[in-house]
Amino acid sequence: MQELINRAKELLADGTVARVLGWKAGDLPYNPEPAYFEKEEDFENFVYNGFCGANLSKYMIEASKLEGKTLVCLKPCDTYSFNQLIKEHRVDREKAYIIGVGCKGKLDIEKIKGMGIKGIESISGAEITDGADTLTIQTLYGEKTCSYADAMLERCHVCKGKEHKIYDELIGESKETKDAERFDSVAAIEAMSPEEKFAFFQKELSKCIRCNACRNVCPACSCRKCVFDSNKFDSSQKANVDSFEEKMFHIIRAFHVAGRCTDCGECSRVCPQGIPLHLFNRKFIKDINEFYGEYQAGEDTDSRGPLTDFTFDDVEPGIVAERG
């Protein structure tokens, strides 16, 4: 982390960048927040550890409108989002100085608390430099431990890889964290009967509180004004009613980001009700792979997306009927 801080200070001092976008230490051991650093003394609170899950690419949409370059710290998975945003002309590459930061998997405080660990006072083992595979957690109710892997976000278990897809320089080592197949969870749902699928999603989506956190954190949701925020939308779109969440909001959102979603997993990370929203997007990705050939959104900045392109090899629309 010190190397990252030193380099950021250097680039700020020599005028290469006007500000640094990273994470500021929180007031609990696990709640750092995305933050801008503009002065040398701001860096006192700079932090980069296992709890820095936030994908800062989304913040670069606004930062691209600011005067001067913004140094942004991106993890390998965040760089896919950044590439995709370049492709969609939502961020300005010239306004970004990207430091690709190493990642050994990001932690999910909800998982830690889900193990019954509460009254947390301090956590060791979450630092990016720690080689430890175990988190040691001091709590008001005694010392607890859990394995780093068990506390990782779902997305880290199906990590797309250690490689940064776009960067100006790299700082820090990354670790392979993948220990599961990305599409297994989708296949498991595909194997269900229609009734089971419906019951599964109904149960999950009925928890939705329409807070829009999934949408607002999503790098693919970059519309200046979302259709669901329109006051001319003649529907009960603002009400928290099952009919809307279960049949409209999340489905429409999944359709809208199809082909552009990089599977960064932010939607599921931020959902206050723990809804596995990424499953929708991942289903689309799996289908796109099957219908149009392997495709990873955000892999590059200039290829044509499968859903915005036409080739004679494209699958015929009737495939849906044939597939049942």
Binding site: G26, D27, L28, N31, P32, E33, P34, A35, Y36, A54, Y59, G114, K118, G119, I120, E121, L140, Y141, K203, E204, S206, K207, I209, R210, C211, N212, A213, R215, N216, V217, K225, D229, N231, D234, S235, S236, K238, A239, N240, V241, R269, V270, P272, Q273, G274, I275
Partner: protein
């Protein structure tokens, strides 16, 4: 005081639900929220905080107000019926109960909100002491005592027993309806409850936020706080989602909307969030045009405007749900601390 063995709680819930609607913490797909009791519901009284606060029981996130129907030249307006059925909310915490006090100030003041008033009239609150408070809790700062909640009935869960103490007439009525399952507590039991209270208070003293100072936050601080340059910095990571407002036990803003049913209009209200771009939208447009202004509104409302209008009562109760759930890890504690660090007058 009465007591009941934990293993008999299922029978108690069944008994209560026989004569009243019963809402209590239920786990669905890994998340605990207040829901209506049913025989196959997975009741979870061990999880300290439900994701959403129980305020839905009195002020639901969405509710219909009335329906207009046009039939030829005849127009009929059918108001929704007010709550008439008695109900029990079991397992609210001291902070949640204090949240209802805040809502009372808003909805029971003139003009009285009849939908809310009917629910308050028919609702009985059974509040539970917090066996193991967590690091995100700061109810003490706002004057709540999670070791001894004040509601219609207060309960403590310790060891294998649940201890039950009625505090109001409504509480007495509920106790009476459940007395076949409640046993009289003796001096030994009273001692256990006192020990539990002492243990809870001991933990509260050790919580990291328990000594948070509210100095400088009051109804008189309006201009000084409103004009602070700090907001410009504090709001930046905010994603403008409504999580903090929707998990909050005191956020009371709502929007009223009309839904075109095709042959009439259904008028409903639903929680609004000051974080949303159409919050308090008027014909002339919106009087808060930036996210900084919307972000500032939330904290100014809780810590300055509300106390100014309600004899100093804050509209935060320190439940810590926003601390746990904000996707950008922002929260009211960080805001209060930031002003402290800056001397509060920057």
């Amino acid at each position: 005081m009465y007591k009941i063995a934990k293993e008999n709680l299922a029978a108690l819930f069944q008994l209560i639900a026989g004569s009243r609607e019963l809402y209590l913490p239920v786990k669905v797909s890994g998340q605990v929220n207040f829901r209506a009791w049913s025989e196959d519901a997975e009741v979870d009284l061990d999880t300290l905080k439900t994701v959403k606060s129980p305020k839905d029981a009195f002020f639901p996130q969405s509710e219909d107000l009335y329906t207009c129907r046009k039939d030829g030249k005849k127009l009929t307006v059918e108001p929704e019926a007010l709550k008439e059925q008695d109900f029990v909310v079991f397992g609210m915490k001291a902070c949640d109960v204090k949240g209802v006090e805040v809502l009372d100030k808003v909805f029971l003041a003139d003009p009285v909100d009849s939908f809310y008033a009917a629910r308050r009239e028919h609702g009985t609150i059974v509040a539970m002491a917090c066996h193991e408070p967590e690091e995100t809790c700061f109810c003490k700062v706002f004057g709540a005592d999670c070791a001894e909640p004040v509601a219609d009935v207060a309960v403590w869960m310790t060891g294998e027993e649940l201890y039950w103490k009625s505090l109001t007439e409504k509480g007495d009525a509920l106790t009476k309806s459940a007395e076949s399952l409640l046993a009289e507590a003796d001096a030994e039991d009273e001692k256990k409850v006192e020990e539990e209270k002492a243990s809870i208070r001991g933990i509260v003293e050790k919580l990291p936020y328990s000594n948070l100072s509210l100095e400088g936050w009051n109804g008189e601080a309006l201009n000084e706080k409103f004009n602070s340059e700090l907001w410009e910095e504090l709001y930046k990571p905010c994603l403008a989602c409504g999580t903090c407002t929707f998990v909050c036990p005191t956020c009371q803003c709502y929007d009223i909307k009309d839904y075109d049913t095709g042959h009439g209009i259904k008028r409903y209200r639903c929680w609004d969030s000051c974080m949303y771009s159409d919050f308090t939208m008027m014909a002339h447009g919106n009087n808060r045009t930036s996210q900084m202004q919307r972000f500032r509104q939330r904290f100014m409302h809780k810590l300055v405007y509300f106390p100014a209008n309600n004899d100093g009562m804050y509209s935060c109760v320190g439940c810590g749900r926003c601390v746990e759930k904000c996707p950008a890890s922002l929260n009211i504690v960080k805001v209060i601390k930031s002003f402290q660090n800056q001397g509060g007058d920057k």
